[in-house]
């Protein structure tokens, strides 16, 4: 599974397709083998049995024909007359009888003609002259014919040859002898059966093969006899005949032999399976074509899926690199299309936010920007209590006249960098640069419970940082800078202010004006940091406060109580 999990989607699609098709292919081949193979076996068995039946009916037909021919021959009056001569030894005409036998062999195309007297003694034989005078009374089919005085047939062996033989009585009008005709069952018969039935046919007993359609080399194979016990059950068996498998069926033949006679019928199993193998080869070829087609389809399909996925992945990689302008151009209505549209929307959203953050950041601190963008600041505006810090460089006008503009701006930027650092160190936000001063907010946009203390600490921080700057200035022969800081707290309205293109976060309210006024009071009192009574009231004991004054403020009827802050806890480093 681990291996599988580490494969690419494309590889998995390939593998899945290939495995599926191979499985279908193998299942098809296996099923074909199973079904057709079994069917072939059955068909072949049926054919063998049919051949067996054909053989049996052939034997019957031959017997009937033989019997008919024999009966007709036996009715020949001339033959009867010659036969009858044996009753009288003086007139017995054995030579005529023998030549008649020879003539009959030719006349009806049989291979054996024997004639006996009415008791079964052989009178004439063709072939087998040597047997003349012997009694055949115990020899089938004569034995049966003697008993029934009627025609009888049998399969017998004469001089190692198999004969189908018939014995018919010669009537004159009683039985005056028997005519026996034999038709050989030899290789030709087996061959003819083979031509008709496409099965190899062998006639054999346990002691040997009597006739066969097999060539000499195969039929003399001793295994043909050896396997007889195996196949003589009436069920076909598979036998290996010179490298080829043959379904073999042995059927008993009713015969009058010393050993039971069998006809062994064999059909090539391998040849019968040849169409199956052709079929399987074709299925395999079609399967391979299908597999190749599936692979191509897989490649195209996988390309269709993984191509866009790879584009998506590449696009995803662009995001952490900061490339938010990257867009996908995948016009599809499926999941991939949905995914790429989502990506485009996501990238567009990110880009927009970044754009806003960038634009914002130029005017507000990142804190403000993030607070606004994260939605923590209700943009519609809200009332909240904040501390407002105003800072100003004293005697800046004179300074600006004295100093080179380039040097002045460098000085200012250096100073403001310190101021911003001091404000942000306390979580405040530099809201405005006023040329020689700044306005900073504490408690907005991020709400802070201790915004008053933070503002005062920031002011102290500005003063401290200014001291370091002044040392630097003095070392460079410049006059040290002096500043004034005024802080007030009160409720203001906070939110986004301005037309769309120039919108910015800001606060408005009386407290802002008052804070600015308090700052301007520092000149009068020659104090560095002045805070309103509201601020001072909230400062802890660690802050060292100085003078207190109740001063009239421009724009208000009531005088304002201000408190000088001298020092406080060490500012955050």
């Amino acid at each position: 599974m681990r291996w599988w999990d580490t494969r690419s989607l494309r590889a998995r699609i390939f593998i899945a397709f290939s495995v599926l098709i191979l499985a279908v292919l193998l299942a098809t081949l296996g099923l074909t083998q199973l079904i057709v193979g079994r069917d072939t076996g059955r068909t072949l068995s049926r054919e063998l049995r049919t051949t067996g039946q054909v053989f049996q009916s052939l034997l019957r037909e031959r017997a009937i024909r033989l019997q008919t021919n024999s009966t007709l021959l036996a009715s020949d009056f001339a033959l009867k007359r010659v036969f009858a001569t044996h009753f009288d030894p003086s007139s017995y005409d054995s030579e005529t009888l023998a030549s008649a036998g020879l003539s009959y062999r030719q006349r009806i195309g049989v291979q054996l003609v024997w004639m006996t007297d009415e008791k079964g003694t052989l009178l004439a034989a063709s072939p087998g002259e040597g047997r003349i005078g012997q009694t055949l009374a115990g020899f089938s089919p004569l034995k049966d014919a003697l008993q029934s005085q009627a025609p009888a047939t049998a399969v017998v062996e004469v001089d190692n040859e198999l004969f189908q033989m018939v014995a018919v009585p010669v009537l004159g009008p009683d039985v005056i002898g028997f005519l026996m005709l034999g038709q050989v069952i030899d290789d030709h018969v087996a061959e003819r059966l083979k031509q008709d039935t496409h099965s190899d046919v062998t006639f054999l007993t346990d002691s040997g093969v009597l006739a066969s359609s097999w060539p000499e080399s195969t039929r003399n194979d001793p295994q043909l006899i050896r396997m007889l016990p195996e196949v003589r059950q009436q069920n076909p068996r598979l036998l290996n005949m010179s490298g080829e498998r043959y379904l073999s069926l042995a059927l008993p033949v009713v015969a009058n032999l010393e050993m039971p006679l069998y006809v062994l019928i064999q059909g090539s199993y391998d040849r019968a399976l040849a169409p199956l193998h052709t079929l399987q080869r074709r299925i395999a070829i079609i399967g391979m074509i299908a597999l190749a087609g599936a692979l191509v389809t897989g490649i195209i399909l996988a390309g269709g899926i993984t191509g866009p996925v790879r584009l998506l992945v590449n696009a995803m990689h662009e995001i952490p690199r900061g490339n938010l302008r990257h867009r996908l151009r995948i016009e599809r209505n499926d999941e991939i299309g949905f995914l790429s549209r989502s990506f485009n929307e996501m990238a567009a959203g990110l880009e927009e936010r970044e754009h806003i953050k960038d634009t914002f950041g130029r005017f507000v601190s990142r804190d403000v920007a993030e607070a606004v963008l994260s939605g923590r600041v209700p943009l519609a505006g809200e009332r909240r209590e904040v501390s407002i810090l105003f800072q100003d460089i004293r005697g800046f006008t004179a300074l600006s006249e004295r100093l080179d503009p380039v040097v002045l701006l460098r000085l200012l930027n250096q100073f403001f960098t310190e101021v911003v650092a001091a404000v942000e160190a306390e979580g405040g936000v530099v809201k405005q640069f006023t040329g020689d001063g700044v306005m900073a907010l504490f408690g907005a946009p991020q709400s802070r419970a201790d915004h008053t203390e933070r503002a005062v600490r920031a002011a102290l921080g500005i003063v401290t940082r200014l001291a370091s700057l002044n040392v630097l200035l003095q070392n460079n022969g410049a006059a040290p800078l002096q500043i004034g800081v005024g802080i007030h707290t009160g409720e203001v309205v906070a939110g986004l202010i301005g037309p769309d293109e120039r919108i910015e976060y800001g606060v408005v309210g009386e407290a802002v004006n008052l804070a600015s006024r308090i700052e301007s009071l520092t000149k009068e009192l020659t104090a560095t940091i002045l805070v309103s009574r509201e601020i001072a009231a909230r400062l802890g004991s660690e802050f060292v406060l100085g003078r207190t004054a109740l001063l009239p403020v421009k724009g208000t009827s009531r005088p304002v109580e201000v408190v000088e802050v001298l020092s406080g806890p060490l500012p955050a480093p």
Partner: protein, 203 residues
């Protein structure tokens, strides 16, 4: 039948019966005097074996040696009567009606006759040494008449008998009283050959 009429016409010299080994009466057995053979008749009357409805009538004809037998054909078809028996081999090729000449049977013995055209037609002419013979009736009885007093050897013959006639020989004293002689013959089972009557008959 004509013999049975003769049997009861006069008092028999010898009477008896022929039965099988199982005791059953044997019909159509011929009992005749084997010895001493009296002088044969100078001119025994001519006998007839008719052919009626493709059958020899009678099927068994005992005759005295030297008897001439006519073979008239009363069927509408030809017959071809023959015999291969060594006793009398003859042939009356295809003929109808009275066309065939009579055949004289001049040797003692059984003559089996057949028809070359009709395999089932079969008959026996039993040629006997003298006119002293009798044929058993359906109850197996026979009677020999007109035998002068003396000692005779009697034998029995039957178409199916397993014994040769001489093997059945019995000596009998013929005198004033009726001598009684009984024969027992072992018979082979009869094997009738099916006849075919009518042209469309099947075997």
């Amino acid at each position: 039948m004509i013999f049975s009429a003769r049997v009861y016409a006069a008092a028999p010299a010898v009477a008896g019966s022929v039965s099988g080994t199982d005791g059953a009466p044997v019909n159509d057995a011929v009992v005749f005097v084997q010895s001493p053979v009296p002088e044969p008749d100078k001119s025994p009357p001519m006998q007839v074996v008719d052919q009626v409805n493709k059958t020899f009538v009678p099927g068994l004809l005992p005759i005295v040696v030297g008897t001439a037998v006519r073979f008239p054909n009363h069927d509408q078809i030809h017959h071809h009567v023959y015999s291969f028996s060594p006793t009398k081999t003859f042939e009356l090729p295809l003929y109808k009606g009275e066309a065939a000449a009579p055949v004289v049977f001049d040797k003692v013995g059984a003559v089996k006759i057949g028809c070359n055209i009709h395999d089932w037609m079969s008959g026996i002419i039993l040629v006997l040494p003298s006119r002293h013979f009798a044929v058993t009736d359906s109850s197996g009885h026979f009677a020999l008449n007109d035998l002068p007093a003396g000692t005779y050897t009697l034998v029995a013959w039957h178409a199916l008998s397993k014994l040769k006639p001489e093997e059945t020989a019995q000596s009998v004293q013929v005198g004033a009283e009726v001598a009684n002689v009984n024969f027992k013959l072992p018979l082979t089972p009869a094997r009738p050959r099916a006849a075919m009557h009518g042209t469309r008959a099947e075997p």
